[in-house]
């Protein structure tokens, strides 16, 4: 189950962060997302190998905590997408697919002429779409 998705701007400012849990753990998830930015920076600055991963936007598993797995994705405008999940057995392809759809939703949201770049994404359509993607993530991984 995805517990949290986040969009973080290129100055490491949170643009959108949404948790999908019932518990009041927003602060914890904020911390996890905030922390993972270090790993993103690390990945970006020290690419493991060149070649096929050169233009790879998917950063893979950023770090495993005790209960969560954190995945990252970096767009070419240095906007980071963070996914926090409780699933311990996640297929990479699922996550890639998720990020691809999430990216599309994000692009649509910021293409809105009323969206101010660098400000938080307040679009309700975006939120709805993200929650749909999040729900379908659970389904596709179950299949």
């Amino acid at each position: 189950m995805i517990v949290c998705v986040a969009v973080v701007g290129h100055q490491n400012n949170p643009l959108y962060i949404q948790s999908f849990t019932d518990a009041d753990d927003a602060l914890k998830l904020h911390h996890i997302v905030h922390c993972s930015l270090d790993v993103v920076d690390e990945r970006v600055n020290n690419p493991k190998k060149s070649g096929p991963t050169l233009n790879e936007t998917f950063l893979g598993l950023l770090y495993p905590t005790e209960n969560y797995k954190v995945y990252g994705y970096l767009t070419n405008t240095k906007v980071k997408f963070i996914l926090v999940t409780t699933d311990l057995d996640v297929r990479d392809a699922d996550v890639r697919n998720f990020f691809r759809r999430f990216h599309a939703a994000y692009v649509d949201a910021v293409s809105n002429p009323f969206h101010v770049p660098g400000k938080k994404i307040t679009s309700r359509t975006f939120a709805d779409r993200v929650s749909t993607i999040v729900q379908s993530f659970g389904l596709s991984s179950a299949v």
Binding site: H30, H31, D38
Partner: protein, 1258 residues
């Protein structure tokens, strides 16, 4: 290769990993030692550390080397076991608490992340970590897994006082008392023993001891027995200059004289003994052991160098799994032996042997592998956990040494156990690892600090918690991770409050106060806690940057009055440029626009012109916008300005010229209304709902001269916290409304020069309606009152919109309205337009003898006319001069501003058309529609302006509008005849006498004897002039232009209850002219009815066309007659009835009976082609010339004969002709408009001719 002692790890290892000597002694020994205030171990410890022992060592390799540094650790046998867990914990806790107290007091926060990183590493890393780690490691010593802490040798000490010392020695090494390590088989019990006899010289002669020594030597061997005599000093007065025991007895009081019975000989003896013990016994023993073990290991495992890690530890792992009760290695297992070998070699400094030619730094690495294994394997049980902790600590240290700080942090993180306090420390250390790693991982640094703080808090280490949280602040500062930021600040605030440090708590709570993103409940919690803390402080806080409520500084508006005064707040909000354009020609130019030539500029000091001026006793107003960013309501009270009033430096005569006015307490007391104080400040209370914004007007009134500076605003939040907002620091966007000089620095915009009290007129217009109907005409009274002690004179008034407001005559003040508007029979009309020029300039000079005396008021009549509907702003500015009061200000202006809402009332439109038959008469159609929703107007009169028009009703109004009142939505059409009196008097033969000239028509009841309203006298005439000029009409031009004034009344007692007098409504229409006025008009004249005997073939009818050129140009006119192309012989008998009525839109044709019928030109033009197309069968032909050309001089008339032939009787429409006209302008460029339409085509208009069959034959 780095010197091992230079790194913290190396130092730690050299200190900690040294051979352990187990000490067994009898109570007498201890007793003797305690005479010196020392235990045996304490006594011996200073002499166990050898920095230059210089012992040759030969271990496994054949190369001997010399060992320089060596150290022994002495422990009582009872201490050689794992320490009590609880006690250890307690001790660690004490350590932490102690450090917490100390650091808490010293701590200073780095404010910026950059600062944080720029500091040297040693400063950054709290030094107590080292200490703590050491303590922690100590609690974990003597595990059964490693040989470092296993005793290498055993020192048995017996006092000479003991009975049978030899037996005592045997007893001491009784298995029951030995530590479990030796008993449970983890260690080889056959360790080296050394026997020491301690002789206290105070107890007796030395020879007894020597005898005992001999016995011992017999029993235990020659080399292993020794004797030490001590306490040689009898009086115990020996002072040791540099006390060697001090580091080993931490709780010693400075006054205590340690080793008071030990003289120099004793010390030397002890020293020699220890050196001998190490160099002659322990080191050779270890050497030998190493060699033996090495031999064994080499025998069992070939090439053990390469296998050391694999075999050793894999095997160990397997062992652990096999015996889940705990990893137990027996001493004689090969693993244990290898282990001991390695450890011994390490302790002897033979690192090459110990770890296969790796250098020390690589040695660390190897060891780290080992401990990692430990940490990974030993997960079961607290013993394993604690061991893991120690191994982890060392491992982390090693990683740190090797700059693998990230990994070190991970290790720290992983060794967090269930003990929260230790976890907290570990997490904090981890956070520093992240901080120090390259590049720094600040996010993780912050996160681990927060985690650590949480753990500290759980263990009630609040000070540590605060410290860690505060260290985390710079990480989150300036970012938008507000949820985390709020959490950190809120908790710091709470914890400070727990510690009773409310001041600091408040500053942190302030950070979270204006957190708009939080939920409502969280906001409530924040605010509640904040207020609680503030209450606990017991004083009112003054907070410079209180974010609650938010003040929008950019919307700050300062309203002050220098020579420009405002009658109302509405006037103050009007743009300055508007007033200035209004006042431009009214105020003396020298002050309005001064140049260097003006004398004025020399008189008034430059400073006065540069700074804003306000007058003592007059209030300065500041509009401030407050916004509540939260979702919960807040209450704000005692909002007032903060001002400073200082003496004018040039005059310096202010009584209280000191700066004490800056003191806030002083000002609050002044604001309570103390008249004698120099400033009066207003106070406002209000409460704001969630998200609400309000604008508050604050005033300050200086009472004495000086320089007034508005510093800021302050308020009280929930009557607990005083918020201060300084206007200065963000003054770039500030907008000072009255500020004339925009190039000034903003700070000077809030600085005012207070000058002596001046007269100030108050102005008010009585009974000016806010809402009225268009056309409303009424008198008003302007009241100007002067509250000061000085008279003002030279009053002038300018009104922005003279269409609406107009100054009357003083004698009109008490005139009876509306009777004063009526025509008075006996009054001459002379001079009625006397003040036309005045009104056109909009500037009204009050008569020169008008003064507004001190403390009196002046009333002046005004006329009001609601000219057009809409929202109408009215600006009135009144200029006045004071005499001899101030040199700085000679005049002032009073600005008044009113907004009127004028509703549409009656829509009056006029249509003027030339009467076809008579060129000097016009038909006037007036359409009146009542556009109101409820009002019922009484129509009163229609007047034409000027003397030249005579107006008369075509039919009595009674027939059209019997009630004479126009109800809501009702419309009325009236037709009038209009005669040009000049023309008719000259050209027409009927000359009306002057007395009969009627330029007014009564529309009301005809029998009413009420007089007409006089449209030719003030104010109607004046308003009419305004209407003319505003409607953009010039008085010249075409002479067929008439102005009308339509007057209606709203009877008294109607829905407008504000007045009892009837309201008069006048509607002005200017320059009405015939709609399609062409310069050519013509008239076909001829018989209307002809009787003809059609026995004769045709009937000729002669007609006459009179053509008038009314233009100023020469006109050439073609009259083209044409017959219908079709030759249908059907006569049109009663043409009108044959026309389908649906083709006539909106106009019902009535058969022409007489030409009183008004035909609009529009209807005419549409009708003509229709009738042509439909009927198209004229049964007549034009005879004579089909085209006639005439040339008409300007303003002349010509005649042209026309003739038709009729063949059958019938009614004929003689409209099938066209007039083509061309104007040749006279050579003056004036009438460009005329010249443009210099040609045109006119259709003929209907002329019906009835031709009848004559009955009689001639």
């Amino acid at each position: 290769m780095a010197d091992p002692a230079s790194t913290p790890l190396g130092k730690m290892l050299l200190e900690e990993i040294t051979p352990v000597v187990m000490v067994l002694c009898t109570p007498y020994v201890e007793e003797s030692c305690l005479k010196n205030g020392l235990s045996l171990i304490q006594l011996l410890s200073p002499f166990c550390d050898f920095t230059n022992i210089d012992v040759p060592v030969r271990t496994a390799s054949d190369q001997p080397y010399r060992l320089r540094k060596f150290k022994l650790r002495l422990f009582y046998s009872s201490d050689i076991r794992q320490p009590n867990l609880e006690v250890a914990k307690e001790r660690l806790k004490k350590v932490i608490t102690h450090v917490g107290e100390k650091n808490f007091r010293e701590s200073s926060d780095p404010s910026q992340v950059n600062n944080l990183l720029s500091r040297p590493e040693s400063e950054m890393l709290p030094s107590w970590f080292q200490f703590f780690n050491k303590e922690l490691v100590r609690t974990l010593s003597f595990s059964d897994h490693e040989a470092f802490d296993h005793p290498v040798a055993c020192l048995l000490v017996v006092s000479s006082k003991d009975d049978e010392p030899v037996n005592r020695f045997v007893d001491l090494f009784n298995t029951n008392k030995l530590p479990s390590l030796l008993n449970d088989g983890a260690m080889d019990p056959k360790i080296m023993k050394h026997y020491l006899l301690l002789h206290d010289n105070q107890d007796g002669p030395f020879n007894k001891a020597t005898k005992l020594l001999a016995d011992m030597r017999n029993a235990f061997g020659q080399n292993d027995c020794q004797i030490i005599c001590f306490n040689s000093s009898q009086d115990g007065k020996i002072h040791h200059q540099d006390n060697p025991w001090a580091p080993f007895k931490s709780d010693a009081l400075p006054t205590e004289n340690l080793g008071c019975f030990l003289n120099l000989d004793d010390l030397n003896e002890i020293k020699d003994f220890m050196q001998e013990l190490s160099s002659k016994h322990i080191i050779p023993y270890m050497e030998q052991k190493i060699r033996v073990l090495n031999q064994q290991v080499s025998a069992t495992r070939k090439g053990f160098r390469n296998q050391i890690k694999n075999l050793w530890w894999r095997k160990g792992k397997e062992d652990t799994i096999d015996t889940p009760n705990g990893p137990v290695y027996t001493f004689n297992s090969i693993e244990s032996q290898i282990r001991i070998l390695g450890d011994y070699a390490f302790m002897l400094g033979d690192y090459e042997l110990a770890l296969s030619n790796y250098r020390l730094i690589s040695t660390d690495y190897k060891l780290d592998k080992a401990w990692k294994r430990y940490a990974g394997v030993q997960k079961l049980g607290s013993a394993g956990r604690r061991n893991a902790t120690r191994c982890g600590l060392w491992w982390a240290e090693m990683l740190k040494t090797r700059d693998q700080l990230k990994e070190a942090a991970t290790v720290y993180f992983r060794i967090c156990g269930e003990d929260t306090l230790h976890s907290a420390v570990m997490l904090e250390q981890a956070s520093f690892c992240y901080l120090l790693s390259k590049p720094p991982m600040l996010h993780k640094y912050g996160f681990h600090l927060v985690l650590s703080g949480d753990h500290y808090k759980k263990c009630d280490q609040i000070k540590h918690a605060i410290r860690t949280y505060r260290s985390a602040i710079p990480v989150y500062k300036g970012t938008t991770w507000s949820l985390i930021k709020d959490h950190v600040h809120f908790h710091i605030g709470q914890w400070y409050a727990l510690l009773g440090m409310y001041d600091v708590a408040v500053t942190h709570m302030l950070e979270v106060l204006a957190s708009t993103h939080q939920s409502k409940t969280t906001q409530e919690l924040f605010l509640r806690d904040f207020l609680q803390i503030v209450q606990k402080t017991g004083k009112t806080f003054e907070v410079l940057k209180l974010q609650l409520p938010v003040i929008n500084i950019s919307s700050l508006k300062v309203i002050f009055e220098d020579q420009r005064t405002n009658a109302s707040a509405a006037a103050a909000s009007v743009k300055e440029s508007l007033w200035r354009s209004l006042e431009e020609d009214m105020i003396p130019s020298s002050t309005a626009r001064s140049n260097w030539l003006e004398l004025q500029s020399k008189i008034i000091p430059r400073k006065y012109k540069e700074s804003n001026i306000c007058v003592a006793g007059e209030a300065l107003k500041v509009d401030t916008e407050f916004k509540n960013p939260l979702q919960i309501p807040i209450s704000v009270s005692s909002v007032s300005l903060m001002c400073e009033l200082s003496a004018n430096p040039e005059e310096g005569k202010l009584p209280n010229s000191s700066n004490e006015v800056q003191n806030n307490e002083d000002r609050t007391s002044t604001s309570s209304g103390d008249i004698n104080s120099c400033l009066i400040l207003s106070e406002v209370d209000f409460s704001l709902e969630g998200g609400e914004t309000t604008v508050v007007q604050l005033t300050v009134t200086p009472r004495i001269e000086g320089i007034l500076k508005i510093v800021g605003v302050k308020w009280k939040l929930s009557s607990a916290v005083v918020g201060l907002c300084n206007f200065e620091f963000n003054s770039v966007n500030k907008r000072v409304v009255r500020g004339r000089r925009k190039q000034h620095s903003p700070s000077s915009d809030l600085k005012f020069l207070v000058i002596k009290s001046l007269p100030r007129l108050e102005g008010f217009i009585h009974s000016l309606p806010e809402k009225t109907y268009a056309g409303d005409l009424r008198p008003l009274v302007l009241e100007l009152s002067n509250q000061s002690k000085f008279p003002v004179k030279n009053l002038k008034m300018k009104i922005s919109n003279p269409r609406f407001l107009y100054a009357g005559n003083q004698k009109e003040l008490n005139a009876d309205f509306p009777a004063c508007l009526k025509k008075k029979m006996n009054v001459e009309k002379s001079g009625s337009h006397a003040n036309v020029n005045k009104t056109l300039q909009n500037l009204f000079h009050f008569p020169e003898d008008i003064f507004v005396q001190e403390e009196t008021s002046l009333s002046w009549p005004l006329w009001f006319h609601a000219a057009v509907p809409g929202n109408i702003p009215l600006y009135i500015t009144i200029y006045y001069e004071m005499e001899g009061v101030s040199s700085i200000m000679k005049y002032r202006t009073l600005r008044m501003h009113y907004n009127l809402q004028v509703l549409p009332s009656l829509d009056v439109s006029f249509q003027l058309s030339t009467r076809p038959s008579r060129s000097q008469e016009f038909l006037l159609r007036m359409d009146v529609v009542n556009k109101t929703s409820s009002e019922c107007f009484q129509v009163h009169q229609l007047s034409s302006v000027g003397q030249q028009w005579e107006i008369s009703l075509l039919q009595p109004v009674d027939s059209i509008l019997p009630s004479q009142s126009l109800f809501a939505g009702q419309s009325l059409s009236c037709f009038f005849m209009l005669k040009d009196r000049r023309r008719s008097s000259t050209s027409d033969d009927s000359i009306p006498s002057i007395s009969h000239i009627q330029s007014d028509v009564r529309l009301g009841p005809q029998d009413n004897s009420e007089a007409f309203f006089d449209v030719s006298s003030s104010p109607l005439a004046d308003f009419h002039d305004c209407e003319r000029s505003s409607q953009g009409m010039s008085s010249q031009g075409c002479e067929y232009k008439v102005d009308f004034v339509f007057i209606a009344q709203l009877p008294e007692g109607n829905s407008d209850s504000s007045s009892n007098t009837p309201l008069v409504f006048s509607h002005h229409a200017c320059d009405c002219s015939p709609s399609s006025m062409s310069p050519i008009s013509w008239l076909v004249d001829g018989p209307r009815t002809i009787q003809h005997n059609f026995s004769a073939p045709l009937c000729e009818v002669n007609l006459k066309m009179t053509i008038t050129n009314s233009s100023d140009a020469i006109a050439s006119v073609h009259i083209n007659t044409f017959d219908s192309p079709s030759s249908n012989n059907q006569p049109i008998v009663d043409a009108t009835t044959s026309q389908p009525p649906e083709h006539q839109s909106g106009w019902s044709e009535i058969p022409i009976v007489n030409d009183t019928k008004i035909i609009t030109t529009e209807a005419l033009t549409t009708r003509v082609p229709k009738s042509l197309s439909l009927e198209s069968v004229p049964q007549f032909i034009w005879s004579g010339t089909s085209s006639t050309k005439l040339v008409l001089q300007p303003r002349s008339t010509a005649e042209s004969p026309l003739q038709i032939c009729v063949f059958t009787p019938g009614i004929y429409d003689l409209s099938n002709y066209v007039l083509n006209w061309n104007l040749t302008p006279v050579n003056d460029g004036e009438n460009q408009g005329e010249a443009n339409k210099s040609s045109g085509v006119c259709q003929g208009y209907p002329y019906y001719l009835s031709v009848l069959e004559s009955n009689f034959k001639d």
